[in-house]
């Protein structure tokens, strides 16, 4: 059983807090980034930072939906922790001279769409949806990408930062899978009905439309950095493996949908999936700037690379 004691988890989370000030961002080692790495790493870090930020917003929505106070508090902490990851990654970018002055890097267009969707609809999504999407995103994009990063980057400060980030992530995943299982326990019939109802919800379809290309886009980024695609896929399979470890977890209809989707992402030969999605990725690149969501929600502006304020 992957069941965890949420009260103990909350205590653990509270006692495992760290701050940007705990890391010396000016320590030697920044020059270990090669000239060749630099531009790709810059694009990669910008995306990664935004994904953390988007994940943060997901947890904020989950905190509103949490069925009990302990879980609510845990999600509230996770919300802040994802923000901390984004802040730390921005601090790394600052260290590597990748920030335009103090400016936040622009999110790519897929991210802009996800941000837009999260801002508009995430608070209305049932916990079942978010509770499945978030662990998936976490494993595939967050956890996995971080490991890749450590394979290629030698800067010790980067390793320091990601040691802490990964430590947080292990707790995020633990809770994520616990919740998947919790939900699997409910009455199947009602669950199925609810699932169908949400699938038909146009807001969700919009969300899928922006989330799906995001995964493919990140795959492209990873490949561009010279990392093996297989590693990313291996991580997505981890979601299937861990999430599907118990019957309860497997029974969660959202787990089913998302892992099936994950399988499609992983299977390059599935042209029926990849051709249209890759097209979507390319298409979003061509959406003229003026048609992109223009208003940036306030929560997006809260990121900072400065340890003190």
């Amino acid at each position: 059983m992957a069941n965890i004691d949420l009260d103990k988890m909350l205590a653990k989370v509270k006692s495992s807090q760290w701050a940007l000030a705990d890391i010396d961002w000016d320590a030697p080692g920044a020059d270990l980034i090669t000239e060749e790495q630099w531009p790709k790493l810059k694009a990669f870090m910008a995306d990664l930072m935004w994904i953390e930020h988007v994940g943060a917003r997901g947890f904020a929505a989950m905190a509103k939906k949490a069925p009990d106070d302990t879980l609510k508090q845990i999600y509230t902490y996770f919300h802040a922790e994802e923000q901390r990851h984004a802040n730390a990654e921005m601090a790394l970018m600052k260290r590597w001279g990748m920030l335009d002055g103090d400016e936040l890097p622009e999110p790519n267009k897929n991210l802009k769409l996800v941000i837009q969707w999260l801002d508009k609809y995430s608070d209305d999504m049932p916990l079942e949806v978010l509770g499945s999407v978030i662990p998936m995103l976490e494993i595939a994009l967050d956890g996995a990408l971080c490991t890749f990063l450590l394979d290629t980057v030698d800067d010790p400060v980067c390793h320091q930062a990601f040691a802490r980030i990964n430590d947080d992530e292990s707790r995020h995943l633990g809770v994520g899978f616990h919740v998947l299982e919790m939900q699997g326990r409910g009455d199947l019939y009602i669950k199925a009905l609810k699932t169908v109802a949400t699938v038909l919800d146009p807001r969700l379809i919009l969300g899928i439309a922006s989330y799906v290309p995001l995964l493919n886009r990140m795959r492209d980024n990873v490949v561009a950095m010279g990392l093996s695609e297989e590693k990313l896929y291996a991580c997505m399979k981890k979601f299937e493996r861990i999430g599907g470890r118990t019957a309860q977890g497997r029974r969660n209809p959202w787990y089913q949908i998302i892992s099936r989707h994950g399988r499609m992402v992983v299977n390059r030969d599935n042209r029926a999936y990849h051709a249209p999605v890759d097209l979507m990725v390319r298409l979003t690149d061509y959406i003229p700037e003026r048609l992109m969501p223009s208003r940036v929600p306030t929560w997006v502006k809260g990121i900072s690379y400065r340890p003190t304020a």
Binding site: Q17, W18, A19, L20, A21, K64, D69, T76, Y77, A80, E81, Q83, R84, N87, A88, D123, P297, T298, W299, G302, S304, R306, P307, T308, A309
Partner: protein
Amino acid sequence: MSNENEQNQNTTAPAPAAKKKKAATRKAAARPAAKKAAVKRKATARKKAVAAKSSRRSDAQSKRNAVKEASVVIVGAGFAGLGMAIRLRQAGVDDFVLLERADKVGGTWRDNTYPGAACDIPSHLYSYSFAPNPHWSRHFSGSAEILGYIEHLVKQYGLRDKIHFQQDVTDARFDETKGQWRVDTRQGDVWQGRAVVMAQGPLSNASFPDIEGLTDFKGKRIHSARWDHDYDFSGKRVAVIGTGASAVQIIPELAKTAGTLKVFQRTPAWVIPRPDYATPDWNKALFEKLPLTRKAMRQALYWTHETMALAVIWNSPLTRLAERLSLTHLRSQVKDDWMRRQLTPDFRIGCKRVLLSNDYYPALQRDNVDLITWPIARIAENGVRTCDGIEHQFDCIVFATGFDVPKSGTPFPIRGLNGRELGEEWSGGARAYKSVSVAGYPNLFFTFGPNSGPGHNSALVYMEAQLDYAVEGIRRILDHDLKILDVRESVQQRHNRHLQKRLARTNWNSGCKSWYLTEDGYNATMYPGFASQYRRQMSRFVDQHYRRVPQTGSA
């Protein structure tokens, strides 16, 4: 929300030594009546003093340490204690003393002098009906004016000589052979009374939050209930921790003077508009010349607040209406939708105290003010670290974090019949009969006792009912020369079963965490009903509900 409180000390700083001495001599002169008893018990008192603090013993002290006697010992000289004194005197009982740990009267309104401090029940209702004041300057008067009213009560009813300052009660025990309470103070004095009235206040011990590193901070720390008026906020980087009733009053004021202000919020509260206005002079004159108009005003306010019970206490269509009013208030005052989301409560209105403010939301949107909703990870040398990894640095941190409310204990040990200890009995949540009496603790009367809290009306309306009930009990003890007047256990149990059944259906017990509830969610604080119901219940003192033992009979 029980705060583990390392700093649970008096809300007022100890007075300078010189002042203390003067007070002592003044007190000694003011109490010739107590002198005889004092001489009689000098020997025992001295023994006690030696045991208590041998190092600080002096001649002056041993004189002070004699056992002093009165019919009624009142603990605390805030609204409750002074109200008790007035009602006793009006009922013909004059042999009472008030023990006050500070060196001034006023309790809440002596301690809470932060900028913006005011009541949020209209002054004409937040005052004693038996001591009306036609001169209230505003609908919601400020702290200083309320303190002025309390000090005026002391003068008007000549209570000054009855009050003994710097008497911090640390222990109370009942001697069932004599039918006497013995009350000890930190200063080493011993008081005896046939009855004791607990009027030490529900919100009199300032509480700091349970945040790691609280004492590591090198800058200035100020608690809202112990304001430092000498500290100059202008141009300073200031934090306010907490967004409760005090905070929403402080923040708009501090925002005007501080250089930058960061507000740390854990849970957003429901905020509704505050219909405040200055009372014009003609109106004050009218209230003075025609007391009937003032009474009518009080009645109108009383019944308006009674209807609010329907919204605040129970889940009714009025609850939805109140929520909508509050959300409209939020929408009209806050433009940014993310900030609105941060400020939108996710519990039912009434579950926690509803806040009144017109300038809190606007203050949060000033250029020099930030609302921070990340959880606090710890306090460090230079500021507050939030869980998003950022350290916010400050010159001063203001703690608007409320009070240590004993929901499952007593402020000091209270021993009743057969050595039973009330704190132990209440460890699972406080229980009493009609919030005033507790079985096993005879001749003891609580103000603001268990389940006496109003959610929608003036605390003083409830208080008056308690005071009059206590007078009934005290009169019985004195007039019938009772050794013991003790509420029956079975009566108390029946009362509580009924209470808890009704509480289960209220908004307070609807799932949010608040200082009304114990950690286990037991509600030992609030009264589940209208003020009118409470008053009706208190207006009858049923003799069969109490066990009596006369002084002459054998116990």
